[in-house]
Structures are given as C-alpha cells and as structure tokens.
Symmetry: C2
C-alpha cells in the first residue's frame, strides 16, 4: 500500500527513494471492516485519511437521527472532518466504511513535520487541497441546483464507478431525491 | 491596496520587500461598482480574486431564473469559480458585487509563475486552500442540516459583519429559509 501512496504523490511531484521513505514514515496503516467508523460525530479527529482501497461515506446525523451524506471517498481520495482535524474541535460529522477499507493516516503534527521537512510536499498538498475545494464547491452547486437530472449526470460523469459500488438508496440520499426518482433518472 | 495584500500574506509567511514586490507584480487591481459582475455563468474565468474592500456574492441562476447563493466573499477572502478557473472551462456560477468592490486579480499563468518563482507562496496558498475547503465543507454541512437555527447561529458566529452588510432577503436565501423564518430566528 506504500506503493499506492508513492504512485499517487509522484503523479504530481518527483520523489527520490530517500524522499519517499521520509514521506512514508509520517503515515501509519489502518484497516477497517465494512460499517466500522473512522470518525464519529462528537469525538476527536486525530487523522486525515488517504484511501488505499475501499469506500467511505462522510455523513451527518441530524437530531432526528436522519443521515445526510456529505461525500463519498474511494481510492486515492483524502478525507476527514477538515474543520475538526485542523482546529482540534470535536467532529460534527462521521466517516464510515461502505466496504472493507485500508487507509494511510497522518496526524496534524506529522503533516506539519512532513511539510516543513520536505517543502515540495506543500506543492502536492496544495494540488490536493485545491481539488478538494473544487469538489466541495461543486457539491454545494449540486445541492443548490434544483435539477435532479443534472445532479445525477454530474455524479455519473465524475464518479462512474460509484454507481456499481454504492447502494442505490445511498446514491438517492446523496442526490437528495427519492429512490423512485433515481430509478427514473437511471433508466 | 498592495498593503492589504502584504498584511494578509505576512500573517502566514514572512516576506522581504523584494519578495513582496515580486508577489505584487503578479496581481492587477480592478474596481467594480455595486451590481457589476466579475464572473458570469457561461463565460471564461480568467482570474482568482482577492477582495481588498467590498462584498461579493457567488451565485447560481437555475433554469427558472431563481438565484441560489453559494457563498459571500468580503475583505481578505479569495473567490472564483474554482473548477472553471483551474480547468479552463466555462463558469457554472456568477460572481457579483453587493457593494462597490476593489479586488486584486491573478491569472492561472501568473499564479503558477508566482508559486514556482517563490515556493514559500505555496505554503501560503496551501493554508488558504485548506481554509476554503473547510469553509466549503461547512457550507455543505449547513445545507444538509435541517435545523435553521443552527445554520443561522453558525453563520452569525463565523461572519457577524455579514448581518450588517447583506440584505435580509439574501441572508434568508443563503440559509434556505423564508424571510419570515429569518425574522423569527434573529429576534
């Protein structure tokens, strides 16, 4: 799984063997079973997660217990409750496995050590943070858009494999449409 | 207005006079009147904007012409249609002045030159992209949350000055509540 991280980073910046060994030393491996939680609402958020394999959902349970899906995260995606991670506050959202999942975790302290010890990693993380910001802005756009077909087509175009891997009820929940509307859109 | 940018950047990274002169050379000043557009849906997005003074709204007009507010942007905020700016595609949203506004603009080419010519600017932009990503994730959270009082209190806590500067109808639109509900929340 270190190889997955190496490929992922070297798509953006070149790394020598020694540099990659330095990078890898800041991450630890964790494995989770389907339905296990990486982050729980109300708890601390010690890590940002890089998904090596598997699939996660970032969710928010409201007071009535209803689940809202902020985003999915699969291979090569970085995910956490970013506010809680960076500010040290409690999680306002949960991160849960939809499949057995293997992640590489990095703590805030290790993230800062990594960036100061190897400044070109800031170029890499800048690209990733920018992609994350774009994805979030597009998600806001999609939530505000009243056209369910546009939202469906946008998701299908960006993440075609989601439709094979995620139960239809969750896709419907993510899109904010009923299971019946989703069937109509996908037919 | 260069001083505003200098203060804003040096809150995060130190800059010599020469370094700041190099930074400043990558930006141009633009002034807009209230109601003018910086970005229009369907058009190119040549710049990311740093707000020196004034107030903007990032909006999306759906097929029926209804306006949806993605975010507000005021002093010290960086705003654009990030997907269109980075990928060179047409804007899917518009950026419009709510007050007379002065911005510093940077093109993608100048942004890349600035980062490669002065790599510590990547540390600065990483902090900003992270803040933007956090703000977007919080906005998604807020859009999914069914509790209007929580959304209202979150906005009031994060951006207290918005309530003095933005018409109540726009605050209501941003929060996805009626003008009457907003009056009840703010009383």
């Amino acid at each position: 799984m270190q190889e997955t991280l190496k490929r992922h980073i070297t798509e953006i910046i070149p790394l020598t063997e020694d540099e990659f060994a330095f990078v890898a030393a800041h991450f630890s491996v964790q494995n989770f079973k389907k339905r296990e939680y990486l982050i729980r609402q109300g708890k601390n958020v010690p890590y940002t997660y890089f998904v090596v394999s598997g699939l996660l959902k970032l969710i928010y349970n409201d007071e009535s217990g209803k689940e809202h899906i902020l985003s999915f995260a699969m291979e090569d995606w970085w995910e956490t409750d970013f506010l809680a991670f960076y500010s040290g506050t409690k999680a306002t959202m949960s991160l849960q496995c939809l499949e057995d999942t293997c992640v590489l975790c990095i703590s805030l302290e290790d993230y800062e050590k990594l960036c100061s010890g190897l400044p070109k990693m800031e170029h890499f993380f800048l690209k990733k943070a920018t992609s994350g910001h774009i994805a979030s802005q597009q998600r806001i756009f999609s939530l505000l858009s009243s056209n369910a077909r546009d939202r469906y087509n946008q998701l299908l175009k960006r993440y075609p494999s989601l439709f094979q891997r995620v139960p239809k009820t969750l896709i419907a929940s993510y899109l904010g449409v009923s299971r019946e509307t989703l069937s109509r859109l996908s037919s």
